[in-house]
Symmetry: C2
Amino acid sequence: MTKSEQQTAKRDAAKEQESVITGPAEDYLKAIYELELAGGAASTNDIAQRLSFAPASVTGMIRRLAEHGLLAYERYRGVTLTAAGRKAALRTLRRHRVIESYLVGTLGYRWDNVHEEAERLEHAASEELIDRMAAAIGEPVVDPHGAPIPTREGVVDETQYCSLADLGPGHRVAVVRVGDDDPEVLRYLASIGIMPGVTIAVLACEPFDGPITLSIENERISIGAPLAAQVLVDMIGGSEAPSH
Amino acid sequence: MTKSEQQTAKRDAAKEQESVITGPAEDYLKAIYELELAGGAASTNDIAQRLSFAPASVTGMIRRLAEHGLLAYERYRGVTLTAAGRKAALRTLRRHRVIESYLVGTLGYRWDNVHEEAERLEHAASEELIDRMAAAIGEPVVDPHGAPIPTREGVVDETQYCSLADLGPGHRVAVVRVGDDDPEVLRYLASIGIMPGVTIAVLACEPFDGPITLSIENERISIGAPLAAQVLVDMIGGSEAPSH
DNA sequence: GAGTCGAATTAGGTTAACCTAAACCAGCTG
DNA sequence: CAGCTGGTTTAGGTTAACCTAATTCGACTC
Ligand SMILES: [Mn+2]
Ligand SMILES: [Mn+2]
Ligand SMILES: [Mn+2]
Ligand SMILES: [Mn+2]
């Protein structure tokens, strides 16, 4: 083998490794996983919207992922993750959430600007790095926004919580999770005391997606429906299912 | 503006940002910087070899980088970094070395497997993350292999050291830096006690790139010329310029 | 069962970043 | 100064990942 053939061989070998699940593909799988959790098969448009791509681009990527056995895809029918696809999605989700937790836990980041950083690092970090980060902060079970962190083995809590927007007045709830992607939203939520673990009482709800009045730590505050939808909660004590 | 036009605008805005200096481009600039340090203009073949790409590919990337004002390029003449190119190279070099230092300093990595990790993370980490990492480990001046870390402002120590392979017998030297990219080499160097800060006496040198016999911490050991070339050293006390 | 409409796909195009094979050129060698 | 040669570039090709515009499809309405 000549020297330049050796180099060529080395390049080919290096490519072999990952190849199929590229960075962009990881983001698609993650998005599809989350859409699927929310409601059945993920539609082309939903994926496009979540990732800010044109629908035509999504169709293209979907085809490729399906060819590689990561998605079950029938034209005009939306997509579902296969076992392999789900595994890959959870792997990326774990990375993302471990990174967010680590940045907040040990590097002094605040919860409103870790998402963007994690969105890039999740594709570059090795398994080893993620495991070391997780170990360094005590193997957390949720990320700074309350989202569950999949284990190394791909096990994750998929409990569905309802949001503040789904509740009627009179409920007492514990915040379990908030949307993680909009820094301004997160700063505002922090400023009014909404974060995982906090207890909230719903005082009033105006109809037609009107504002919702809450009591948080003895403070009274009204928030709009879109914001309320970003806050996932768990019923406390005697209260049960949402009132409609 | 319609909703879909808004999305399109958002995509364009997002692209505007970096665009020009992509991940691969950062690796090219880094490689060119280091080749230039070693000796004048960087040749297409040298760059190709260092990055394990075909020379034709290098020509292509060089053209693009030159068009964007990062390289001074004349066909068949090799390339030189412009001020902008140098700045970008040092930015990436800083990232790389801060990351290596951080991984070793706080996550329990050993020095032999941080290079590969840093090679990917350097393209994904934000300026803020790098600065926080550097602060967390006390703003180190060199990375775990002894390579100088450029400051945030792009200032770096460019002192040229000679390697063990350049020395004649009788010299007493301090190791300042070792090659950072081959894990096996690094493990071996560590096993025989060669790492930055250690003092070495050169006992004997065989001609024709033969082995070099050293005394390290009162241990006697011979190493081959290629390995010796990876160890950069500083003269101690009375000794001066290399003996040829 | 034809019409309609939004969602999805197809068609066709772009850019970055690689590749191999073929030409090309600069500088030395006889 | 003609010829060689190794380094370099050009020519032509591939793949991933996006785009817009045009077409097609499914499902629901009249
Ligand atoms: Mn996030
Ligand atoms: Mn991402
Ligand atoms: Mn390195
Ligand atoms: Mn790199």
